[in-house]
Symmetry: C3
Subunit: 135 residues, 3 copies
Amino acid sequence: MNDSLSIVLFSGTADKLHAAATLAAGAAAMGRPVNILLQYWALDAFRSERIEIDHGLAYDSMAAYASRPVKGTAAIPWLETFRMAKELGEMQILACAGSLEVLGIDVTTLDPLVDASGGIATFLLAAEGGQVLFI
Amino acid sequence: MNDSLSIVLFSGTADKLHAAATLAAGAAAMGRPVNILLQYWALDAFRSERIEIDHGLAYDSMAAYASRPVKGTAAIPWLETFRMAKELGEMQILACAGSLEVLGIDVTTLDPLVDASGGIATFLLAAEGGQVLFI
Amino acid sequence: MNDSLSIVLFSGTADKLHAAATLAAGAAAMGRPVNILLQYWALDAFRSERIEIDHGLAYDSMAAYASRPVKGTAAIPWLETFRMAKELGEMQILACAGSLEVLGIDVTTLDPLVDASGGIATFLLAAEGGQVLFI
């Protein structure tokens, strides 16, 4: 077993992107290699021309949402936290080739934080022997 | 540590089912044993009489959803990808006994891809020493 | 590798809280150490003054939701299952310090099941070498 942390990042809401970024930054700061695979909505969130917009919240709590609608989700610093993670340590961000095709996105239109496109096998090999999360 | 990949599959939307299926197929193609536990909405998605309907999308991106409503989610080939995974390698699909009870579903009404029903302990034992995802 | 099971618990709906609790209880019953980090909506769900309300369902299945609206989600016994997990074995529940700040919640207002507040690094250290889920 190695100490890498790998994340299949599927969701594109600001709260889940932020949760992923803080875990990535924490692991990177501890010297652990971090591998991220962007799929579906997370891939869409990394499109350069829309990356600064408000990405909203997951509907993962009707009760909380009703009682305390969170204002200013545009201010949740998920992108800055990913940038920090990259400065803190070794983090690779792959855009899932299959998701690029389904969504009709060209990898060159993504934020420069994204290192390359790649398939599931590439990601699984990088993740081998470490911990993996799906977010 | 072994190289098995285990997935607690909770969600029943076409995009998340597809993400799970592609990870399962990728791991199976690499010769890794795959264990899947169907809970709640994923269990509902595997009911034979409704398995072909459009299972919709996760609300995991308000921003993306607003800007590019994905058409034809009924065409996301999650079921075919699971079938392929089973042909490619060793994949076991368990229906969670507790979820069957909560949802009032009989295991015999599920798609034949489902191998058996079982509890959390059975799944955790099968998953022991490998990687686990919750989707 | 050790046999601990760690869960980043992000979601605050009754079905996902219950899925997390059953996995925690199953692992605890098998003698495995369990570590839980409460973030965002799960943190909100553990506020003492609102812990008994109906926490609703994840929108993780439009199709299932339309065909079988689940009644009485207030009755999903997620809190009791977490209490049982703590009696069955060794389970630590941490409130994520960052999320406490974002949501403006004081750790003393959370249910006594929550052991302490802590950061990502504390959680990652506790989770080291074991299996990790994001729910």
